[in-house]
């Protein structure tokens, strides 16, 4: 028998190979048959600042990370005891997170600092073991230069505690090094084994938190995936032809992933001089008839807004903009979590113009929404924003299937077909408002389809006019497309009521809090006998006001959960339905909700009366 819910945390200096170390273990665990959720927290820094990876391993497939660490792997001193030299030290080290009976693997030269009585200390001579691993190889004596490999020694050491199948991890190391570097894969495998043996012989006996051996998955291994890859895959399935971007955290991961697949997927990815160029190239591509997209985060969206107005005013079929939101305002917290851009994404620019806004809550929804965004862009001839908060960008999950075979068909919307008149002058009206809100669109190069477009108000042919009556009809044509979308898009795409229909408490949220809230529903039902459900709002514009209002009116008690200061979805609901939610739990410390934080918060508001509760991560 083993312990079927372990949190393994590795911390170290940024740029020191921590991602590779953590992902190597997490991927090996996935291949071994466990369900894994893994989240990285890091600074806006290239090298040296503290970063850490939290990997939760089990059989159930938890949807949130936990603060309770069973095995801590420290690659440096700061991981153990926190910042020693900061003027305002906030981070006090991860040792305090280790549960009674848990263990700390650390370099024998470091001081583990204060810790609970019942914590197993496992000092390991990282560098010596690495030297041993290199002995007799062509790289003997190069341990100082290959110091990054001490990570593998440390991970190997921790695996012995959990009784994790070492060869699985070694295979994942070998898989990282192919071709001419294959010898490095072997050396890494050896380094892991030495760490493993060192701890197995000295510390592992009787350690409480061992993983149960599980049967490896039959057939293909599950996917180990996070948001940026999901967004890219959704876009590629939709037929993305053109992506332009300017580098910015945390959107870069998606852009670079697509860039790496230009050759095999046949798309064009352009790195531009700024976000204004990125959005405008994407609008140009949309007008030219290609499915186009860009991805950015809040500061980039601040620059892109005029481009969105341009796309909406000229009724371009797109682009799709994925907004990877991070901590604001201004430069804010570039690598940290926040859901503070919702209201900005609802009104991204001056004037009144239509766009769609959807906010997926997990990798499956990211795939689906990034895919379907292109159908909506074509069908309604407007830009579509997909708002994904940073926690989904840096949280890996295990999943068997992304649902690619259940995607709806590609819909390119109403298109102009060459008329019998050939190239007769000006018989086609690109902005004809006599046949409903959406006019069939031509693309440049099509004979008979010549049209004009302008960011000024325009007549049905696309020429500038300031005529009052035309203005009314054109504004109604454009804005009416939102009503059309509200009628046509299936109701279940707008929102989901998770859990029992009738509940004592209704939690309301969006985006990355979906997983944490679903876990909390289960725990509240099991441990507190509280019957709760969860209203997840997904399409924010056009807003499903009637459906939301019906659910909230039937609810006994409502609690808003959001990662921002003002409770932005709550404000939107109030604006759209007149309903004020009873209570709110907000968090704006730049970190996602942990399982414990959310539960503590919910238990608090269940016990207390109406009001707003701020919660914050206790560590890191």
């Amino acid at each position: 028998m083993g312990h079927d819910d372990l949190t393994w945390l590795i911390g170290g200096p940024q740029g020191g190979g921590i991602n590779a170390a953590a992902e190597g273990f997490a991927k090996a665990a996935t291949r071994a048959g466990y369900r894994v959720i893994a989240n990285i927290e890091y600074h806006s820094n290239i090298m040296g600042e503290h970063s850490y990876y939290r990997v939760r391993v089990g059989q159930d497939g938890r949807r949130n990370v936990s603060e309770r660490v069973h095995v801590l792997v420290a690659l440096d001193d700061e991981t153990l005891v926190g910042e020693r030299h900061a003027a305002f030290p906030g981070f006090k080290g991860h040792v305090q997170e280790v549960v009674p009976g848990g263990a700390v693997v650390f370099d024998g030269n470091d001081d583990p600092g204060e810790h609970g009585d019942d914590v197993l200390l496992c000092p390991v001579p990282y560098l010596e073991l690495l030297e041993q691993a290199l002995k007799g190889s062509s790289r003997e004596g190069q341990a100082a230069r290959l110091k990054v490999m001490t990570n593998v020694v440390a991970v190997g050491a921790s695996l012995a505690l959990m009784d994790f199948d070492l060869p699985r991890y070694q295979d994942s190391l070998r898989a990282e090094f192919g071709g001419r570097r294959a010898d490095l894969g072997e050396l890494n495998a050896k380094a892991a084994a030495l760490g493993y043996e060192y701890v197995r012989e000295r510390f592992a006996d009787g350690f409480a938190f061992r993983l149960p051996r599980v049967a490896p998955p039959k057939g293909r291994a599950p996917l180990f995936i996070r948001g940026p890859q999901a967004a890219a895959i959704g876009k590629l399935k939709a037929g993305l032809g053109f992506q332009s971007y300017y580098p910015i955290s945390p959107a870069t991961d998606e852009n670079v992933y697509l860039e790496a697949h230009q050759r095999d997927q046949g798309l064009v990815v352009v790195q531009t001089e700024d976000e204004i160029s990125a959005i405008n190239m994407a609008v140009g591509a949309a007008h030219a008839g290609v499915r186009s997209s860009t991805s950015t985060s809040g500061p980039g969206l601040s620059l892109m807004v005029e481009g969105l107005g341009f796309a909406a005013m000229t009724e371009a079929a797109g682009p799709v903009l994925v907004l990877w939101s991070r901590g604001g305002p201004s430069t804010g917290l570039p690598t940290r979590q926040e859901q503070a851009d919702l209201r900005f994404a609802l009104q991204p620019g001056h004037g009144e113009f239509p766009h769609l806004l959807v906010a997926p809550g997990d990798v499956h929804e990211i795939v689906r929404d990034a895919y379907e965004a292109f159908n909506w862009a074509d069908r309604y001839q407007m830009p579509v924003l997909v708002l994904v908060d940073k926690a989904l960008g840096t949280t890996y999950v295990t999943t068997d299937d992304l649902g690619l075979d259940r995607l709806p068909p590609i819909d390119r919307g109403a298109r102009f077909h060459e008329s019998a008149n050939g190239n007769a002058k000006e018989d086609y009206l690109r902005y004809d408002f006599s046949e409903g809100n959406v006019t069939p669109r031509s693309v440049p190069g099509q004979a008979g389809g010549i049209y004009w477009s302008t960011t000024d108000e325009h007549d049905p042919r696309g020429h500038i006019t300031e005529d009052a009556e035309n203005r009314i009809r054109m504004q109604e044509k454009r804005m009416g497309k939102l009503d059309l979308a509200l009628r046509e898009i299936p109701a279940d795409r707008f929102l989901t009521l998770h859990g029992p229909k009738n509940a004592d408490i209704t939690i309301v949220g969006w985006g990355s809090t979906k997983g944490p809230i679903l876990d909390a529903l289960e725990i509240l039902a099991r441990e507190d006998k509280v019957k709760a459900n969860f209203l997840q709002v997904r399409i924010m514009r056009p807003f499903p006001a009637d459906a939301v209002a019906a659910i909230l009116r039937a609810a006994k008690k409502t609690v808003l959960v959001e990662c921002n200061y003002t409770g932005q979805l709550g404000l939107l609901i109030r604006e759209q339905t007149g309903i004020a939610l009873d209570q709110s739990i907000v968090k704006y410390d730049g970190r996602p909700f942990s399982e414990e934080e959310l539960l503590d918060g919910l238990r608090h508001v269940i016990a207390e009366g109406p009001g707003r509760l701020m919660v914050s991560h206790r560590l890191g």
């Binding site: 291949r31 053109f242 230009q262 204004i276 030219a288 002058k425 049209y451 302008t454 020429h463």
Partner: protein
């Protein structure tokens, strides 16, 4: 479709609302003459513009027309061209549009060498906002609606274009539509980013650079002369010869500072280099074979991407 195309085939039926005597008329005529000379079917041409008086140009041309945002015309035109490499793409804008608010895009478009032709209507004033000085107005000058003389200096767009990487750099004159049409046609024929700075009169707001000023120096003769008539040759013969490339760039930049009694028009610099589209086709041969807009991605296979995540 008519087999013989004339400039008339590229005229739209929209009333032109530029001021009487505006230099822009000459430029739009020159564009139409060039398109006719090139025998391009109107539906194969897309004209993009920024904002300002020049921004209205696409409305007056019978071709796909996109009147976009202030300063952003080059990114929009670039996105469209890369999406359909078979289109002929013209971008037009004013000097405020291109060298002021759009200066970042002007410079960075030079780096890419996408096969488009960019025509700037350079009159040294912001006309539509009623006559403020623009980025080409030299320090110390004051046009009639400016409350004070300029204390910012003017940029040299030709020198900036050469150093930014444009592979065809020319200057034309709005009141010489026939000569300008020749430059535009040459710019369109050139594979790569062509840039044509057009000296344009603004009879309403620029009382310094008037038709009279351009046509008569104090000594009496015209200020403008054709580079080709002086034996000047801006074309790089061997693009692989780095020394020749630098020498021709230096020559063009030196020539671009000739301003005053004598102002050269014509092709300052030209070099044949691989375009951005060529580079994309090197990465992905299919890009070179068919326009991106015609590529069917419906059968896309993402299984290898998924397998890499297992």
């Amino acid at each position: 479709m008519a087999t013989v195309l004339t400039p008339r085939d590229y005229k739209s039926d929209v009333h032109i609302n530029w001021c009487p005597g505006c230099g822009d008329f000459g430029i739009v005529n020159a564009i139409q003459m060039a398109l006719a000379e090139l025998k391009l079917p109107p539906h194969r041409v897309a004209v993009f513009s920024g904002i300002g008086c020049s921004g209205k140009t696409p409305h007056y041309i019978h071709a796909y027309g996109y009147h976009t945002l202030h300063g952003r015309v080059l990114p929009v035109a670039t996105g469209a061209k890369l999406s359909n490499k078979d289109l002929t793409v013209l971008a037009v804008g004013g000097d405020g549009d291109g060298y002021g608010i759009g200066s970042g895009y002007f410079v960075n478009s030079g780096r890419r060498n996408v096969d488009i032709t960019y025509i700037v209507f350079n009159n040294s004033v912001y006309g539509l906002t009623k006559g403020q000085g623009s980025p080409t107005l030299k320090k110390g000058l004051r046009t009639k609606s400016m409350p004070e003389a300029a204390i910012q200096d003017g940029i040299n767009p030709l020198a900036l274009a050469v150093s930014s990487g444009y592979t065809f750099v020319a200057r034309g004159f709005a009141l010489d539509p026939r000569g300008l049409a020749g430059l535009i046609a040459a710019g369109v024929r050139h594979r790569g980013s062509s840039f044509i700075d057009v000296l344009q009169t603004c009879p309403t707001y620029n009382d310094l650079y008037t038709a009279e000023w351009y046509n008569h120096t104090q000594a009496g003769g015209p200020r403008l002369y054709r580079l080709a008539e002086t034996g000047y040759d801006g074309k790089v013969k061997d693009p692989a010869d780095a020394d020749e490339v630098v020498a021709k760039k230096v020559q063009a930049i030196a020539k671009s500072y000739e301003w005053g009694e004598k102002i050269p028009v014509g092709v300052y610099y030209e070099v044949d280099l691989p375009t951005y589209e060529d580079a994309l086709a090197d990465r992905n041969p299919r890009y070179g074979q068919e326009a991106l807009v015609d590529t069917d991605f419906a059968d896309r296979d993402v299984d290898p991407l998924l397998d890499a995540l297992r």
